[in-house]
Amino acid sequence: MKFSLSWLKDHLDTTASLDEIVETLTRIGLEVEGVEDKAKVLAPYSIAYVISAEQHPNADRLRVCMVDTGEGAPVQVVCGAPNARTGMKSVFSPPGTYIPGKNITLGVGTIRGVESRGMLCSAAELGISDDHDGIIDLPEDAPVGQPYAAYAGLDDPVIEINLTPNRPDCTSIHGIARDLAAAGLGTLTKDAVEPVAGQGACPVSVTLDIDDAKLCPAFALRLVRGVRNGPSPEWLQRRLTSIGLRPINALVDITNYITFDRGRPLHVFDAKKVKGNLTVRRAKEGEEVLALDTRTYKLDPSVVVIADETGVESIGGIMGGEHSGVDENTTEVLIEAALWDPLNIAQTGRKLGIITDARYRFERGVDPAFTGPGLDLATRMVIDLCGGEASEALVAGEVPAVTRSIDFPFAEVPRLSGLDVQPDESRTILEKLGFGVSGSGGRVSVTPPSWRPDIEGKADLVEEVIRIAGVDRILPQPLPRIEATVAKPILTPIQRRTRLAKRTLATRGLVEAVTWSFVAKGEAELFGGGDARLALANPIAADLSDMRPSLLPGLLKAAQRNADRGFGDVALFEVGQTFASDQPEGQSIKAAAVRRGTARAEGVGRHWDGGAVAVDVFDAKADALALLSALGVPVGGLQVVAGGPSWLHPGRSGTLQFGPKNVIGSFGEIHPKILKALDLKGPLVAFELTLDALPPAKAKPTKMKPKLTLSDFQPISRDFAFVVGRAVAAGDIVKAAQAAERALIAGIEVFDVYEGTGIDPDKKSVAIAVTLQPTEKTLTDTEIEAVSAKIVGEVLKKTGAVLRG
């Protein structure tokens, strides 16, 4: 919403400065977006007299002018304008002046050997119009030496406010003035509109042919005969141009003026172009109208139109039709002041893509009570500016009465705001804003004015009071602790695990990424998703169409993007939400990481100390297990099962589970098919764990750690090398060995795996080191031999392994 200071002063009698007004507007909720103060920019420009304009000695197109600036001796100026001549008055700028139209700062110059100490300016150079045709040519009586801006009426600052959608009343300058007056910045003037009686009935009738009365509750119309429609007077044109509107002709300018002045959009029809009577109705499917913006709109029954016998003449509340528009030949004019449904106007405007000052107001809600007065105000202006004789006004439908009252205890103000505003002050503020306040004491009945459809209840009234009283009067007040205790831990177990997971993965050399929650449909399908219920109806891009089932597609693509930029050894992780259904239970928190190239935890890239080792499945497995360990997940029952989901290499992946029905995640090399489908280059390994699926840490009754028992006897270690079939899992050998003697075996490490010379081609050698920890006495050789035999026997039984000879 834009308005000029002088226009505001039509409605507000004030001595406040521009700065005070701007500051107050923002303070009361009418946020000032910008102030354009031409007087400031144009301050150095003054009116000057051209004493003489002679031909430049060295240039055909230039003249050397002696200029009387009203101050001191005449100034020599070289001027290239064709209209520069002796005896004219124009606009002068001295050296050092900023020229907005050229974006330069003027200096003293020598042009073709003649010194020039300033400039005579065109309107374009001042940035006030597109007129480049020559320097400004002022009338003879223009006062030399005076500031040009004030003389030309350009010293009227224009203020633009960012209006919130709840304030239709401030789509009018009158409404803005009312708010400022309430805030103590002056007195509101110019309120009531004197009714215009009119002669004889309006010859054109209006039928409201709509199924839902609220689409157009009221439609007021009046004919004015014998008008002369030419350019509007200068004051009106200046008002409109000051806020960026283009003057058209008096009749149109009047409607635009009242739209801004009073927030009351109107429409004028050339009565001679209207055939028969007017009907307000829904448009027919496919019906078209050529609107005033010279574009043709295709309509449907959701659009409410004003039609005559020949068809649609106007899109109600949004834009008139070209056919019945007024022009300089118009002699009979129909003036319309109607009410439209805000919701329908908004939807129609969006659907047709039309933004007009009328739509802006109707979709917020126009003051219904001002329907008649608005028509009268327009009629009076038409008669004043264009002559003519008005008919009586006709009103189809009924202007809805706004009669709601709110029971308001003034104590609501301090209750909600914490500011002790006294009832008297609250009452005064509400009354100045046009609210009816009846009753006395601490509890009153408040009637909101017709222009404030946003006011529903007590909280709205509190807002009115405090925004005018001043939110800055409310002093911060400490929020007391709920309990007078040391702050308690507040994170839930999953929140703690999520935080810890991120820090743990980062300490493993992984870099945290945050990737989109949506992926391409094909990617979702490749990673176990693709459910139609998780597809967006209106994706922003085709590759961001489906809610992600896994963090991996986003991370894998990110790794490839980095590789494409020349950073191929990249290790990324993400901890975030994935989606298995559109229900809250279908959303889970996963942790995932990808490693590419040689980005291993131990080191990245080539190094003199060894390195450039490509990532493999065990890097991913190590990440997953490190995470479980850091999260304190009890891993006693954890199973690592060979093979994984379809996106991992079937022979180089593993599934982490607590039993087949309790899978918590997987790790492995990315499947070559996935690499191909997503256009990725390996080596790429990954793991993904579902944090919500992890068993909770064991609940303990106290913070006491279990008692530490240390053995007095030294542990001993025995090595065993087994030859087994290549398909036998090392994990099974370890498990079998462990089972041989649970009490004594404190640990088993696999320290060598060998295939090749000396071993059958279908076999491999797996060597383990078993640590025995005696607890009661030192083991004798015989006892150690017995344990060893048990281990060998158990491993043979479970895996068919034989000791390597």
Partner: protein
């Protein structure tokens, strides 16, 4: 007794001439070994008369001691030299670079870091962290929050919708974290103090908007909480978060469907040379929206607005991260460009806390 002196000279000469431990050992054996020259002399003592022994004994023993001492001394010297030689041989080039450890390479994303900072600050004020699903019902995202039917935010050009389900209900990707306010108020009794950080989505993609971004909201519900408390909470937050002694804030009355009264909050700052500093200067920067929870929202949660009251606020996590840490472009947050993450990310153990400071 020139024979002894001669022997002594010879042996000591040999000891000093021994170039390594092996040579020294040969000397030792030749002198002190079973058949060594000194040992042989010692053997002769037994056959001597007591007088002879009295005279010769101390001389021969003295010779043995001298030789022994000389050998020991020579051994030390040779040992030192050998060690020096070994150390010299073992010298390596310590200027060779070591591999950076994983804890040096890892990074935490600024969004995670800022959420941890927010959590530390608000936990101290007694707030817990509430969360909710990204896929929301239209009711919780809009209706319960007092968005009127036909509000532009409910249109396809602003909000992401999923396909309608069997019941014809269209789920949305939450456009703000506010539906979690409703979930919180309907699942726990006041007093309520929560912050709600999370992912949010709007149908927007340009220089300064991404279709996904992060918001944090706060909600306080009890029987007294008012705007004065809200101002205190927000001022304390801003001081703590931006780590400045003072901030000047401006509360501008504004409008949101779910709060009444509502305000937008600007924070005073200076913008010299493209760098934003808080606690100084005379520019204003919009930072958050807030207000008293709308009575209709309270009613929608089964709370009587005449009994319960409270306030809520919301702000962009990505935005306050940019303001605090100076990233120029929002879109980079979601690009996973390791150059950006290495630069703007945080070290793994930079864990924000109030005792140690949010940033080190």
């Amino acid at each position: 007794m020139t024979d002894l002196s001669e022997l002594e000279n010879t042996l000591l000469g040999q000891v000093n001439a021994a170039g390594d431990e092996a040579a020294l050992e040969t000397v030792r054996v030749s002198a002190l070994g079973k058949k060594g020259s000194v040992s042989e002399l010692l053997k002769t003592l037994g056959a001597m008369t007591p007088e002879e022994r009295k005279e010769r004994g101390p001389l021969i023993n003295g010779l043995r001691d001298k030789v022994q001492t000389a050998i020991a001394a020579r051994k030390d010297t040779l040992g030192e030299a050998a060690l020096d030689a070994r150390l010299a041989a073992e010298r390596i080039d310590v200027t060779l670079p070591v591999q950076e450890g994983p804890e040096t390479r890892g990074r935490i994303h600024p969004i995670t870091q800022v959420i941890d900072e927010l959590t530390a600050i608000f936990a101290d004020m007694g707030f817990s962290v509430a969360e909710g699903p990204d896929i929301e019902t239209d009711y919780l995202n809009f209706t319960a929050l007092n968005f009127p039917v036909g509000h532009p935010a409910r249109e396809m050009h602003d909000t992401f919708f999923l396909a309608p389900d069997e019941k014809g209900e269209r789920k949305v990707l939450r456009t703000h974290t506010s539906p979690v306010q409703i979930r919180t108020m309907t699942s726990q009794k006041p007093p309520i103090r929560v912050i709600i950080p999370g992912r949010t989505y709007r149908h927007d993609s340009d220089q300064t908007h991404t279709p996904m971004f992060h918001q944090v909201e706060g909600l306080v519900i009890d029987k007294q909480a008012n705007i004065a408390h809200m101002k205190w909470v927000l001022e304390e937050f801003c001081k703590a978060f931006f780590e400045v002694e003072q901030v000047k804030m401006r509360f501008r009355p504004s409008f949101f469907p779910f709060t009444e009264p509502s305000a937008e909050v600007d924070i005073q700052c200076s913008r010299k040379g493209g760098e934003i500093r808080f606690g100084e200067g005379d520019d204003w920067l919009e930072i958050l929206g807030c207000g008293m929870v709308h009575p209709n929202v309270l009613r929608n949660c089964g709370l009587d607005p005449d009994e319960y009251q409270g306030f809520a606020w919301g702000m962009g996590i990505d935005r306050i991260a940019m303001l605090k840490y100076g990233m120029p472009d929002l879109r980079q947050f979601f690009e996973a460009d390791v150059r950006w993450l290495n630069h703007y990310g945080f070290r793994p153990l930079d864990i924000p806390s109030l005792v140690g400071g949010l940033t080190s």
